[in-house]
């Protein structure tokens, strides 16, 4: 993370979620200085007018930067932010491939797959399994099964991969985008042991110093600490979380 001596125009608005840490892990991998604002869900800061100016969708992460022409750019959607950062700053292609190359487009397929598939489906699994005030077995099964199916798609790809990464011979933003979701497998109630290549990939990414550092922004990443907790203990944590509180509020409003 940037210290105060090192001024930077990049300002990340984030929280400790799989989508939020994508951006901090990437910034750390690229060695870019940046400012961080921790957005508090419990205070509903993501819906405050000043934040909606940056992201009208009211979700994290969002990022502002000074563009080459001196104007400010405000971006939301973690996938788009990652593509912006590598396009502008990863000129040596540490975690990306040159625009127009085959690998560049392969990275895009996996990135959109994460954004439109893995994230939303594992998110629904979390909703039905952890947060929903009413236990709906069909909803739990449907989205846990879809999460398993998506993990198996990654598993097959990684089994074929010589490098152990999703695309080509190196870590890319496609891997970084998926990591926080896969690392939260236990929270979604999915067993990573069914997917040995995926588990090895998850551990392998931790060997990258930027991943290890960036996952703890803006606060300590806990998914892996919790892997030995029982489902009952995790349920207790979910019951106290802001998400459940919000769900209950929604129910009360009816």
């Amino acid at each position: 993370m940037a210290d105060n001596k090192d001024p930077s125009d990049i300002h990340l608005y984030t929280a400790a979620t799989p989508n939020g840490i994508k951006v901090s892990m990437l910034l750390e991998e690229l060695g870019l200085p940046y400012k961080v604002t921790d957005i508090s869900f419990s205070k509903n800061e993501q819906k405050e007018p000043w934040f909606l100016e940056i992201n009208p969708n009211g979700r994290i992460p969002a990022l502002t930067d000074v563009f080459t022409d001196g104007s400010q750019i405000r971006l939301f959607e973690s996938g788009a932010i990652m593509q912006y950062l590598v396009d502008r700053y990863d000129t040596e292609h540490k975690v990306s491939y040159p625009r127009g190359s085959k690998e560049y487009y392969d990275v895009n397929s996996w990135l959109f797959w994460q954004m439109g598939g893995l994230g939303p489906m594992q998110g629904q699994a979390n909703h039905f399994f952890r947060y929903a005030p009413e236990k709906i077995p069909y909803g739990i099964n449907r989205y846990q099964n879809e999460t398993r199916r998506l993990y198996s798609v990654m598993e097959s790809q990684l089994a074929k991969s010589k490098s152990g990464y999703l695309v080509g011979d190196k870590l890319t933003i496609a891997d970084i985008a998926c990591w926080g979701w896969v690392a939260a497998y236990h929270w979604a109630g999915v067993d990573i042991k069914e997917f040995p290549h995926l588990e090895a990939w998850m551990e392998k990414l931790l060997q990258h110093p930027g991943i290890e550092k960036g996952r703890h922004v803006p606060e300590r990443h806990t998914s892996l600490d919790w892997k030995n907790l029982s489902q009952e203990e995790l349920d207790k944590r979910a019951a106290n979380s802001w998400v459940r509180t919000e769900s209950s509020k929604d129910q009360e409003k009816k």
């Binding site: 563009f67 396009d87 895009n108 397929s109 959109f112 489906m121 798609v153």
Partner: protein, 253 residues
Amino acid sequence: MDQGLKPIRVWLTPSGPNPWKVVVILEELRLSYEVVSFKFDHVKKKPFTDLNPNGRAPAIEDPNTDLVLWESGAVITYLVQQYDKDKLLTYNTLKEQHLINQWLHFQMSGQGPYWGTAGWFNVLHPEKVPSAIERYNNQVKRVLGVLEGVLADKDWLVDDKMTYADLAFVPWNDRLESVLLCPDEDKFAGFPRVKAWHESMTCRPAWKRAMEKRDKLMDEQGLMWNGMPKGIKNLQEYEAKIAAGEDTTPKDS
């Protein structure tokens, strides 16, 4: 636009919304393409899974560049970067290109999954689960509200021109009435700017050509509006037949 290019091959199942995102872009750019229309029954099987390991339509094969691509968002990004030399659906400037990409990601992660899940609980799920229906219908309304706000004082998502990000929202919005199970004229109730924006794209010849193609391909497979073959009562029956390896083609088609 189309200077001696070999046709781009688009693999699709006609019922789903996402393939039509790709087709409308191809139509807007007047690129040469050919459709490989196949049944939903085969989406998780070879040969399609050799092209897309995720087993979801669409995927493309471009013989001009020897590229195979999947995920509609990645495909249309490619088509524009590779072939939209006159910047009909994008901008020359990098900042605007990133803003277009941001809205495309919002479509892929915000509109698509919520519209799909709302449709699931409203239409396809065998029993009514009120809390799930309410949750996802509310999310659909929330996302429409975000778009309504952004379009309040302008016609397009990024600056003053229709781009591929605007077009990406059309296929799901065009079937919103069947997602929410409401009359067609009510689907954008409370969201007049979204309605105007949507209709300014569906009245274009490119979208009309895409939908004519869709009608023809749906008929070819004997599919009803909800994507299931005629004569099949619900998704459970359809999935059971697929799992049993039965031929689901309607007898009269």
